[in-house]
Symmetry: C2
Subunit: 404 residues, 2 copies
Amino acid sequence: MTRDEARARDAADPLRGYRDRFALPDGVLYLDGNSLGPLPRDAAPALADMAGRQWGERLIRSWNEGWIDAPQRIGGKIAALIGADPDEVIVADSTSVNLFKLLVAALRHDPARHTIVSETGNFPTDLHIAEGAVGCVAGARLNAVARGAISAAIDGDTAVVLLTHVHYKTAERFDMASWTAAAHAAGALTLWDLSHSVGAVPVDLNAAGADLAVGCGYKYLNGGPGAPAFLFVARRLQERLASPLSGWMGHAAPFDFADAYQPASGMKRWLAGTPSMLAMAGLEAGVDLWRAVDQQAVATKSAALFDQFAAIGARLNLECASPANPERRGSHISFRHPQAYALCQALIARGVIGDFRDPDILRFGLTPLYLGFEDVWCAGSILADILTSGAFRDPAFAQRNAVT
Amino acid sequence: MTRDEARARDAADPLRGYRDRFALPDGVLYLDGNSLGPLPRDAAPALADMAGRQWGERLIRSWNEGWIDAPQRIGGKIAALIGADPDEVIVADSTSVNLFKLLVAALRHDPARHTIVSETGNFPTDLHIAEGAVGCVAGARLNAVARGAISAAIDGDTAVVLLTHVHYKTAERFDMASWTAAAHAAGALTLWDLSHSVGAVPVDLNAAGADLAVGCGYKYLNGGPGAPAFLFVARRLQERLASPLSGWMGHAAPFDFADAYQPASGMKRWLAGTPSMLAMAGLEAGVDLWRAVDQQAVATKSAALFDQFAAIGARLNLECASPANPERRGSHISFRHPQAYALCQALIARGVIGDFRDPDILRFGLTPLYLGFEDVWCAGSILADILTSGAFRDPAFAQRNAVT
């Protein structure tokens, strides 16, 4: 694709209007929206209103003027993006904390089942938290196996199958419906981590018959650094599972100040402590931006951006680690390269922000709302220049940052 | 105290300058800073910088430019307010979630001990979370007893004594040193909830020999609605306790993306998921305001404001539920009244914001940084007017809000 062809694609892009809704800095090609989504223009005034008016002027009264319902309200908006009903999703805590709640609850759901089945190389916090969860339920264990062995690992002892829908390194995507059916056939629940899926690929939890899910607010949802996460519990399970993190905000009547814990009905029981309203304001601005977006247009453009970037990689003899079939991947593209870290740093020095994942993955988030074909063309030509010139071999680029 | 006398006290108040550092709305006497502290003027530009520059312009690079260290940096600043060393405090999650982490860790600390001892009528989330924590450790139990029976309940089976330093209703304050000594004499750990203490009364965790503590960021620290909370672990215990919420941010090397969990050394192991930086920006602005404050001046003024309000209550024949001895209470005053809810609503309608705690407590936060003697004089005269006129008997004031 030539630069002119890329410009023509941008001009014809039905999502083109969304680009102006983000405050993208000059001189940066941002291909890291799958690690931290950029600032929606509406977020700044929303935060100013949250601080100045809601906190500053209305003070404690704001709890009765929209705050107390924020976790359910924003959850309902996210539900529309993942094929769930509004009363099946709530915003709370972090993805890690929500994984813990749901894994412990799932392990307690059927006393005859004791195992969490998951994948080695899953996003680390999923496995770390699974370790923590099995430590909290007598007899529980974690069985993490390679992807090819998951199917055989699901058996009559499996309480829950914990899978990340789109892999954070390779972008490989599980077929949610068929894996859910396989888990159900063995009597197990499924817990899907949607962190690299929501806002990236079509997700239909209820069509797939999914049981449980969690996901991140700060990637494709553009909810701000460390934005609150969400969790989904299928309605049929809502009264049968309870949170081990039995905090007051999940109590049936938090302002009765009773000594004994009584879980709220519905999704409110998954709340623990008091949620940050500053964080909620950022997340809601990001989520609101998605409300009118045509998800099919996002999927189509994501596939086209991927094809464009894959062709650039092929021309540069880079090994693509992501699946060729768009139905089997997320919305990022990864290449393997022995100097992936230095390459990533050299790109950043030229204004192309992607990221590195240990040990050899160079990863680019393809975010159709604000990324265009000309952006990918420019990133590709800078990547070509760095590879051909050998600029990435500068020792300065090998020096690791705290966060890679 | 006459209004003129109150004005004279304000004019001589060494903390008077702090009032201008808060954006207090006109027409409001805010006596609810112990439920939600008001907006520090510095918070609005701090949030604008966090959103516009750090998130918007620097994007993912900000993780290497101050974000990754924020939990420890802000924790270190809070440490100075509670008699801890900077490396003994970290900011993370909510008070509820932090209670869970520390209670489970404390229950696992000595396999011969199985009991959490706490107080009936403790702040609800402390007891609710303790219920959740004992559900996660085989053989563990919660023994919540009335204050007078706590001492006798601490025995050789006690793993941890969970006490809230200042009671959220009555403002009664435990003597931290003597209760810690009593717990230690029985071989138990102590876990102090400082939510109504930090920024309110002098706290010296290390002088008291305390083991563990948690606290809230959104009350006297003025960190914003639902601000992140903090936790303290005495250095001698730091390598012997680990979090059941074993998320990636608490890993020894989170960006190695290893499958197996390995807790970080020091306080970082108490992090779970990715913290919200918008929430952190609000909290840091609140905490920074405290850095130059003379804590002894705060205690002295708190006691004087209490005496002034107690005298008003006595004149109005209100039953004071808070201790007369300033060493034995926090920085709020509570009165019992059968129509406490309606009284609270009638006060709010006149611009005096205090709060109601079920069933009969009318509570006023006495926050020396921005509350003056004339404020208390005015609140008292409005309270007198409402009581004498019977205005609080209007049925509209009996109608409950979602959050009381």
